[in-house]
Amino acid sequence: MTELENRILAEAQRLLSENLADVVIAFKQADTPLRPQPAFFTDAEAVNDLVYNGLCQNNLANYLTRYPREKKIAMVVRGCESRSVNALVLENQHPRENLYLIGIPCEGIVDWRKIVEAVGEDVLSVQDQADIVVVRTPKGEFTLDRAALMHGSCLRCTQKNPLGTDVTIGKPVAEQDPHLLRERVKNFEALGIQTRYEYFRQESERCIRCYACREACPMCYCEECFVDHTGPRWTESGVTPAGMQGWHIIRAFHQTGRCTSCGACERACPMDIHMTYLTDKLNTDMYDKYQFVAGLDAKTQTPFAAFNLDDKNRFVAGGTSK
Amino acid sequence: MWTNPVNPNPYLPTPMRVLHAYYESTDRSLKTLELAFVNQQDRVRFFEKFNPGQFCQLSVFGKGESPLGVASAAWEGDFVRFTVQKMGLVTKALHQLQPGDSLGLRGPLGNGFPLADWKGKNLVIIGGGCAFSTLYALTKHVQHAQNRADFGELIVIYGARSSGLCMYKHDIQSWYQRDDMQVHQAIDVPEEDWSHHVGYVPDVVKQIAPSPVNSVAIVCGPPIMTKFTLPALVGLGFPPETIFTSLEKRMKCGLGKCGRCNIGSKYICKDGPVFSLAELNALPADI
């Protein structure tokens, strides 16, 4: 166990034994080497298999909406997760007073796909060390540069340090240039419309409509997803261009002002589909038009959910524009 | 009219035409459709296989299919009756159909009631809500002069939430005049001018207390009614082998392929929808 893991474990045990939390949501070692498993500890005595490393790829805020509001939930949160929690609290998914956030400054998530690309899909074990990742395979042991394995969303991350936590474990990390995400959007927009459409077509046509992106996303908590709605039906149900493109574009739009660019959708996708470029674009738009960044706090209403009599758009009585 | 080429495609419906369409309930949530076959060979093929308790997939093209129990007996004529509760996309579309309109039908599907095994037995028919429609088909079948002698006593217990939701009113009213059967109707809460039972079906069953001797009980209703009626019958002394029910599932193909109606070793669409309580007890509690 690393020192960081020991400290998280001690905190989890304390919270449980002092009845400050009904459940501590963290990670434990899974049965497969590339992905630790979200873990739900309820007993201080049984927290021993807790792990925390760069392979912890899920956004744990995703599990928040599975609990009744009165449950006291403690959760390990990195920067993006803390923003997702804020966004969920803002949307009344759980009262903040029943949450206890154990913040961890994040060194970035290691993308299992990049490991697989480097060593093949047959992986026996992975060790995340400070600057390197050691991967054991039937073909032998590989030492990989950690920086080169970082998930795309983490490369562009603007909030590595968790926000609004109840306790923070580990030293704060340096934040990156906040324009990295915008750069990506700009570069993509610079491509011609044909190229951009071709890219979207190629990405969406690999979709198998397993909805792992939806299920991995903390903000996709709707009781009934639009794709399952029958009256009216919003998209074709099959793996047709209309169905697959419809799914990805509408999913992205539903995230406007809510997505925290955590990239959990992309990491869950079994077909390596890039989809964060759509939400990144919407995120930059939200900033440019409304100076809004999702999840910075749990109070500022998202522009599309806010109601204001002084709204500049004419659809509100008293609005100023004609 | 929809035409249908001769084809082994089991997903291809038989073309049908609406003969009659009328509301069953005052709130217009229940509508009965009587359908005629467009092609005579389809009619012959249907009635060769048909048995009360079976269901069909009704199609409105552009909307989809919906599984519905048949609400008529073969002797009633060359039509097939269904009572449709307005619930989702397809049932809403079915409600909009008028006499003369076209639709598709696949069926009859499923096993139906094991009538041969019930020969000589008293039948206790217990229904609730719109699920009574298949029991209506069973009652109509048994009532026919040619079939009536095959069975002993006939008791029908039928409950609805309110009098406005009672189906087949005029016909059921006439059953009270018959001397070869007993009818008990119930509504959940008292209403003025209601002279029959008031209360939930399981309680009415306990009150009427039909004899289990040489009897079978057939229960069709909403899941909650079935859940409490089955033990009530066991309490009255009905062995599980003599209690039957028809399961509702989200059936799609009706052929045991699409997998969705799987419960343990059974596919409800193919092996059911009619099961005895003894058979259900042997299945995982996935109902």
Binding site: D31, G238 | K270
Partner: protein, 341 residues
Amino acid sequence: MTYLLKKSEVNQTLRAWTSKAHVYAPQKVQKYAQFLPVGEDFELSVEEPHNTRFPPKALFLPQSETLLKYNPQKRELESAKTPDQPRIIFGIRPCDAKAVTLLDSVFSSEDNPDPFWQARRDQSVLVGLGCDQPCATCFCTSVESGPFDRSGLDAILTDLGDTYAVEPLTERGVSLFENLTVASAETTQTIQAIQEKATREMPIAFGREGLKAHLDELFENEIWEDFAKSCLGCGICTFLCPTCFCFDIVDEVRKSTRERNWDTCMFKVYSIEASGHNPRPSRRERTRQRLMHKYSYWLDHTGQTGCTGCGRCVRYCPVGLDIRAMVRKSVATPSEVPHVD
């Protein structure tokens, strides 16, 4: 008789077959391999020690498929055409071919054969590629199969370095490989040794004895709740599974068609009934259905386990749920433990 096919001649052989059939083989899509039609610029991709990411069941049961067309104006129905082209599927792994034979029990059943499945089956020749180096997520020998299982195959290949040994298993298989060099007795022995070694070295993931009965007794156990806790409820494990076959039927208005699309018991809407009642309302029941269907109900239906140990669900689960570990944990759970709400 065993033949030898030089790897350097595979591309050319497959291209030559395209004159008489549609030929499908694993090819690279982005960074993974998938079965695609062999065309002019075809390049075989079988370097990964395991199967393609997307299962070849889709060659027989496409994820989306038209069942019929309707013409709203003329009020005519038209059955979708059943495919009538001969096909050769090259490089299918034994687990995936075995899965196709399992699915035959559903789609080629005597009472109601599915004409679309049947047509594709009748017209397909399956050339399998045995697995001489089974990988960490494979467990075919634990589920009545093996790295050189011949089920469903018309011929099976064994990798000999720069050559494939070809063992035709059916007449169709024989006709595909007519003019090849015959392997020597010595080579035949080598092949046998490779196949036996691969089978022998495959670790057993769990014991199957008494497994079904035990799982049946665990139906109400809290173990399912435990598995479901981290489960996202996505469709990866079932859509990538070579034996999962559930589908939904929907009408597509824009195309005036009725289509079937793969569906999965892992989705909430899958089981919800017209009355609104959902017999599998939470992930607990849905996770249970997936595992129980494969390891119990399939045995009721066909006497065989509905899993061929391909390992896809293990490799791609976003939360690292491993069906082998789930089975092992089930086995380790005493069945008398009551379910606690």
